[in-house]
Amino acid sequence: MVKYVLWFDETGKDAVNLVGGKVASLGELINAGFPIPPGFAVTSEAYKEFVRYNNLSETIGKMLAPLKDNMDDYILLEETSFRIRNLIESADMPKGVEEAISSAYHELEEETGVDNLRVAVRSSATAEDMDDASFAGQHDSYLNVKGVNQVINKVKRCWSSLFTPRVLPYRVKHGIKHHEALMGVAVQKMVNPRAAGVMFTLYPTTGRKDVVVIEAVWGLGEGLVSGLCTPDNYAVNKITFDVEEENISSKEMEIVYDKKQGKNIHNEVPKERRNVSCLSREELIELTKIGKKIEKYYSNPQDIEWAIDTDLKFPDNIFILQSRPETVWSRKKKDLPKPEGGVLDIIVSNIVTGKKLE
């Protein structure tokens, strides 16, 4: 039986085609016991049903045809993208899909005990290479979405973001057919973060593997990603858990959710909080432990987004929002002494080399 909605813990890396890379990764993490805010995925089957129900495939194919040999025509590209996105966003949601989303949303409300629950609605593309770092942020993502109607509306927008002017040429270049590009959508409870940021499970500039590097800002992590303010920066040894580096910067702005306006706003950080570390020592160490476990779980260095919830108590206040493989650092060959000649030879060569003063 075709499923239009799957809970995160029902997914995993085998479900990439169904829910997209991002959700699959969240599912993996939840099942491995990591603290992920709860949520569900609208599957690619739902998208397919939507396309079928509204008979979109053929229409879209026709709309794209003139672009085929004119990918460099930016105006045409923009215009085509605009028209297709409009078409998708104004098409009707099939009853079955709508019901599935609606009941999942209500269940989530019940589970968290919050009416009109605030959720994030994020795209989760199924084509693996479209979800890697170089493509991050190309698909739509919506924060602070409330109520079934809004959720459904944003799901459609995520789907339509398969046709943004950035994405289309990429698919053409890589020979991905348009009807093969599918999309899952994550619907996830919003964390109400006191602080948030990123964590690399190795030292990004040197590739050092025994530390994690954590960057943190007050409020939502968007403040860091958007470059709104300079984050606090820490390096924690993941073996000894010593905090090896700590650079507290002056954080003048933060992005927080404003209840009255019902949206995220840029807020000036009060003076007494600006030069204070966003993270306590125990939070730093707990984050490091989680980072270390995630890295071990994937057997690869990771780039992790996290948040510290305002309302919950340590250690339940730490949430992992996303984890992706860290792709930038390439391993350098190290020139280490060989064991063949025995310890004595190594000692001799070490003494003879000495310490260079530059």
């Binding site: 030292y203 040197t206 025994d210 064991p339 000495g354």
Partner: protein
């Protein structure tokens, strides 16, 4: 290091006003050349001389320089003549305005190095292979000479010799014996330091090789983390403190804890103990612990002013009191040995797992294995030599000083430190000769005013700030001690050059030293100048001390971090803080002067920086 970035030449440094003539307080060969000999002058200006603040935070008392003379020979000879450390010769010493400066010497001829390599491998290989057996022998040798030292007796010079000299036909006088015992005292001192370095150079070389491997394999890893993978658990430097913990538990078990209420009056406590059966039982254990564990200096042991527990039983008694109080509050005072052992294994294993192939893992295993074998000696020798031997030695010199003072050559026993060991020998000849002839020693006329003069000079030297380095930095340093103990690195050079540029004595809110133990922490400072002050330390304070020694151990169960004036990566404070997981910045030079009790300070044990955040 480029030519233009250099330190002042020794000959550029002026004598502080009022300290003229300081040179006469030290052996002639410690003097920098004033230009009268071109060859020596050039050699001295081309070398890098750094101030040995690690061992000597204060200018030298003429007598105390003896230890420097001893290691001047001993360290050097093992590199240069015995083990034939391939590229390294000895460490040369000089004194400038009372402060010791040293420079490592190397072998530059590649052919010579090649030849030395073969010999070194054979000789060092023998020691590495038989390390544990040889160390056992070493401990016996050390205990033997400490025994000899304790058995030294300086005879008083009698009005008339006992008749046994005649009827037992001894054929010698007390005067002869006095001279002989002094020679023996000096001889034993030299011997202790010959032994001191028997294993140390090789120990450092093996350990440093492991450190270097880790630095290459895990770029950015701190020395402290490497030390944690290696450091021993059964290090005897912890034993004295463990004895105190045991005595505290015993006091409670025997229901004697009330004797430790109020201020600690040594005589009163010991007298009360004598009165009961349980008290006597406790005293018995107390006596057993004394030898040798109370021969623990409260300083580094290098200065005669460093008091040992045995010299003032109030120090260990106050610590026992502290432990009793903790026990009564239900606190655990045992070292978390299992935890430490587990951590050590875990850290080493997890680092090993970061290596990329089996070959590297094998190298890691072998180097770590050897480092673990050599490390206990690297830590333990300190107790035998600097603490135990030195403590007995200072006691013996004080005994001798009583006799010299009786003949009026010095005004009180504590004036002996203003004479060099060579001068003391002359003084003894002076005394014995005049005793034999029935006259008065000449020294009684010359030395008292001479010593007064020296005290004034010493005071002036104490007020002077020695520059961190002199002369020209070399391109490469190969001498293991220079790297490991004094941490001579590019960064250190830069720092020194900066210090030289900004000048001394500026008030700053930052104090720099060696990163002794990792971690960053903020809290109120407690400046304790000596071990007697540690009972004032409150839970959660940051200890700021000139230096620490095992007798400070009770302090480490309360504090959040430690900062010291003196010490390197292997100093007591660094070792203990690593064990307890507390940040430490050591070897800051002047933290106790710059920081005040109650200041809120931030200790960054990763980078060796202490910041004064708030002062009321």
């Amino acid at each position: 290091m480029t030519e233009n970035r250099r330190f002042p030449n020794p000959s550029d440094i002026e004598t502080p006003p009022g300290a003229e003539g300081w040179e006469r307080m030290y052996p002639y060969y410690y003097k920098f050349d004033d230009g009268s000999n071109k060859e020596r002058f050039e050699y001295e200006n081309k070398a890098l001389w750094f101030y040995d603040g690690l061992h000597y935070p204060e200018p030298h008392y003429p007598f105390d320089l003896f230890w420097d003379e001893c290691w001047f020979i001993a360290l050097s000879q093992y590199n240069s003549r015995i083990f034939m450390m391939p590229p390294a010769l000895g460490i040369d010493h000089r004194i400038l305005n009372g402060y010791v400066y040293i420079t490592p010497l190397g072998v530059s001829d590649p052919e010579k190095i090649e030849k030395r390599i073969e010999i070194f491998k054979k000789r060092a290989g023998y020691y590495y292979k038989n390390w544990d057996t040889l160390v056992k022998q070493w401990e016996e040798k050390m205990e033997g000479i400490i025994d000899d030292l304790e058995n030294l007796e300086f005879p008083d010079l009698p009005e008339m010799e006992d008749e046994s000299v005649v009827f037992e036909a001894k054929g010698i006088s007390s005067g002869y014996l006095l001279l002989k015992e002094y020679q023996k005292l000096i001889d034993l001192g030299i011997l202790a330091w010959q032994y001191h370095f028997e294993f140390l150079n090789l120990g450092y070389a093996a350990y440093l090789t492991f450190v270097d491997f880790c630095m290459k394999a895990f770029p950015g890893i701190s020395m402290q983390v490497v030390a944690r993978m290696v450091s021993g658990l059964d290090v005897i430097l912890y034993r004295p403190d463990e004895e105190l913990r045991k005595l505290a538990k015993l006091a409670i078990k025997l229901d004697l804890q009330d004797l430790f209420k109020g201020t600690v009056e040594t005589d009163a406590i010991l007298a009360e103990m004598e009165k009961t059966e349980n008290g006597k039982k406790w005293l018995e254990e107390f006596e057993k612990a004394k030898h040798p564990w109370f021969y623990l200096s409260t300083g580094t042991g290098w200065y005669h002013t460093d008091k040992a527990w045995i010299d003032d039983l109030g120090i260990p008694l106050a610590s026992i009191k502290g432990y009793i109080e903790m026990l009564e509050k239900g606190e655990n005072i045992d070292r978390p040995l299992d935890q430490i052992r587990e951590d050590r294994e875990r850290i080493a294993n997890e680092y090993r797992e970061l290596l990329e192939n089996e070959e590297d893992k094998r190298t890691f295993d072998e180097l770590l294995g050897l480092a673990k074998v050599v490390f206990p000696y690297v830590e333990n020798h300190l107790f035998y030599v600097e603490h135990w031997f030195h403590t007995v030695f200072w006691q013996k010199v004080r005994e001798l000083a009583q006799i010299i003072a009786r003949f009026g050559v010095i005004e009180g026993p504590e004036d002996i430190w203003f004479l060099t060991r060579f001068e003391v020998e002359q003084v003894l000849w002076d005394i014995v000769t005049s005793w034999a002839t029935g006259t008065k020693p000449r020294g009684a006329i010359d030395w008292p005013p001479g010593i007064e003069e020296r005290k004034k000079i010493y005071q002036k030297l104490k007020e002077w700030n020695p520059p961190p380095a002199l002369g020209t930095p070399p391109d490469v340093i190969t001498e293991p001690f220079t790297i490991m103990l004094w941490g001579i690195t590019t960064e250190r050079m830069k720092e020194w050059l900066e210090t030289a540029a900004t000048g001394e004595g500026e008030v700053t809110d930052e104090v720099r030293g060696f990163p002794g133990s990792p971690g960053i922490v903020e809290g109120p400072a407690r400046v304790a100048r000596n071990v007697e002050e540690i009972d004032q330390i409150q839970e959660g304070e940051i200890l700021v001390a000139p230096t620490t020694s095992p007798s400070w151990a009770p302090a480490f169960t309360k504090i959040k971090a430690a900062v010291t004036d003196v010490g390197g990566i292997m100093c007591h404070a660094a070792i203990v803080c690593r064990e307890y997981g507390l940040p430490a910045v050591v070897g800051t030079g002047h933290a106790t002067k710059q920081i005040k009790t109650g200041d809120i300070i931030k200790v960054d044990g990763n980078n060796g920086v202490v910041k004064i955040i708030k002062r009321d």
